[in-house]
């Protein structure tokens, strides 16, 4: 791992792989037929889908794969209604897979007052099996990263329930543009972290590699659409070359020593570099909504009638002015500089210290969606350079607790 952090924390939700990955070949037609089989059996299939709902040009441009021949299509992860909706252009879906595991809003329980008692209705925490196909490796890896906090001091049954019910097959990414940096933060454009298998484009179709028990079960269930014909010298080689080329492309975008970045941030809380980075930020929170690893939520009780209502959780953002507003009225993070610093701190220092994972998978959406010009590649580069300056490196790694917050 480039960052040298301990990544042995058990991944939740997908069984650890045992034995070498199994490989298959399927043509694009086979793949669409496989989707048809799933849909025909009533299984929900979530995949990148071209949408024609009005989108801003910069949003569409931002998701386009910059490799020649790729179309600028507005893509999103949605449940498919038919196999022909599956978009295989390898562009970047606007919003990550996050919304399918941590919905933008979801009911936690409902209440109804009856006289002097209150009836509380819980929500189900078991979900029907479903499949995510052609996921971006950065989006699946993010799920594994967030698994840590979702199983830390509280087991989030809704998150875990959805994770357990979902089989995820990635589609190897060609790397979107210069804002991608997955290899700098511990994953790769062909990784299967958080997922159960990987499709790699080759001549005539795809090589499918399954890496977990769930993935193997998936392959077994769809054996009719898969062939064993993956000769090492042709398709096998082609898949390997494609994957290596993508890894080289993204590594060229950014290389950092994540451990020293982590330690520098932890020991340079008041450094003017962090203030200079933050000043441009408007606090719009768009970065947190498109980020696959951001998971903060608010819980509110929404009264929907006299004596009845729903307790919901919904996405929140640390960039909101009231994110840390106390009941007393005091707000320890009451300006944007401090909130932006917190974002960098949490993702690249606090979370790695706590869970051994960077809270980022290098998808680059935050940079592409930020219209104030915040560029996370530039920011990490600047911190990495600062951290490598002689005398800057922390004498020893920061202790296993975040720095106390000074207002």
């Amino acid at each position: 791992m480039t960052d040298g952090t301990d990544t042995t924390s058990a991944a939740r939700g997908t069984a650890a792989s045992s034995g070498p990955p199994e490989r298959y070949f399927l043509s694009e037609a086979d793949l669409r037929s496989l989707v048809g089989d799933l849909l025909g059996a009533g299984t929900e299939v979530i995949a990148p889908l071209a949408t024609d709902v009005c989108q801003s040009p910069s949003a569409v441009a931002a998701s386009a794969c910059t490799l020649p021949g790729a179309a600028a299509v507005d893509i999103d992860y949605r449940p498919l209604a038919g196999a022909d909706e599956l978009d295989l252009s390898r562009g970047l879906p606007q919003l990550s897979l996050k919304e399918h595991f941590l919905p933008e809003h979801e009911a936690l329980c409902r209440w109804k007052q009856k006289g002097t008692t209150v009836e509380v209705e819980d929500v189900p925490v078991e979900f029907a099996p479903r499949v995510v196909l052609a996921a971006k490796p950065c989006d699946s890896a993010a799920l594994a990263v967030v698994d840590q906090v979702m199983n830390w001091d509280y087991q989030d049954e809704l998150w875990n329930g959805r994770r357990a019910a979902t089989t995820i097959i990635n589609l190897a990414c060609p790397v979107i543009d210069e804002s991608c940096f997955c290899t700098a933060v511990g994953t790769a454009p062909d990784d299967t972290k958080g997922a159960d298998g990987l499709l790699t484009p080759v001549d005539g179709g795809y090589v499918l590699e399954v890496t977990t028990d769930k993935g193997r079960a998936f392959a077994a269930a769809h054996a009719a659409r898969l062939s064993d014909d993956v000769p090492a010298d042709t398709r096998g080689r082609q898949a390997a070359d494609e994957r290596a080329a993508a890894r080289a492309r993204v590594a060229a975008n950014l290389e950092i020593d994540a451990a020293s970045v982590r330690d520098w941030i932890g020991t340079h809380f008041e450094d003017p570099l962090l203030a200079s980075i933050a000043i441009r930020c408007n606090g719009c929170g768009a970065c947190t909504s498109v980020c696959p690893t951001c998971h903060c939520f608010d819980i509110i009780d929404e009264e929907e009638g006299v004596g009845r209502g729903t307790r919901r959780r919904c996405w929140d953002t640390c960039q909101a002015p009231t994110f840390t507003l106390h009941a007393s009225g005091h707000n320890p993070r009451d300006d944007q500089n401090v909130r932006y610093r917190q974002r960098i701190n949490h993702k690249y220092s606090i979370y790695p210290l706590k869970f051994g994972e960077v809270l980022c998978t290098g998808c680059g959406r935050c940079t592409r969606v930020c219209h104030a010009g915040q560029d996370i590649v530039e920011i990490l580069q600047a911190i990495d350079i600062a951290a490598r300056r002689p005398g800057e490196a922390a004498a020893e790694p920061a202790p296993d607790a975040p720095e106390p917050v000074t207002s």
């Binding site: 989108q55 910069s58 441009r280 768009a286 909504s289 929404e302 919904c314």
Partner: protein
Amino acid sequence: MTEAAPVYTGVDDLRRIARELLEAGDVRVIIGYENARVGARPVFVTDPADADKLIFDTRCVHNLVTYLNPRRDHVAELGKIGLVVKGCDAKAVAGLLRESQLKRDDVVLIGVRCGGVLEASELPAALALTPENVAPRCYGCDNREPTLTDHLVGEPQPEPPRPVMTIDERVAALDGLPAEERWAFWTEQFSKCVRCYACRQVCPLCVCEQCIVEKTQPQWIEPSAHPRGNVSWNVTRALHLAGRCVDCGECERFCPVGIPLSLVNRKLQQIVAERYDYKVSDDPENVAPIGDYRLDDQQEFIK
């Protein structure tokens, strides 16, 4: 299609003025535009030697007046600000002055004569404006030479090209639909809303210390991003901007899910123009329509 825009001749003057202001200590920071890795982005220049970072071209879409928003303490702390403003931006400054959110003496305004901007700022080169790439809101701009300025740079620019479809045409198309279809369109759009409040955060005129949506006792607007809460939020946002919105387009540009807020904003302008003969301008003495009244205001909708 990929033709570069002619070089903006005012850039040298802009840099010179910025340098002089900083050297004289008249301002502590110049907020303008610079080249980002891709595209243009806001820059905060405090050192006169950095004045050459300042640019102005068709990618300079941002409304920098958002940094004058009274909520931005960390910017105000830098000291007196010198701000680069296009015509639409100057209207936002007027809005803040009108509502006593800014003192005229706290800011030095460097106006730029503008011929329109691109729809997206994140382009490697400043392209010439075409019907396909121009920001639709620029068409018909009445303030290409801002008047609320302390300095003014650049040569008078040609009118921006007519976009493939103007915002007025899109609004008219919606107006022409039966109500159920308009409802279907807008509920689909508002259903995309993830309640990130980027639209509010970036708007230079959203200045409330506590936004109505953050009021929890009682909770007037449901915070969850379900369609019902989203309609309430988006309608409220629109109503609170009626007669104040300067059509800078930042809300739509920043929206991560692409809700066409420019259509709502243009409708608001049409309403106050038609009913109250009001146009937002960069004259701070021009009283805003909501909060004002006439004895003979239109009331055809009242029984």
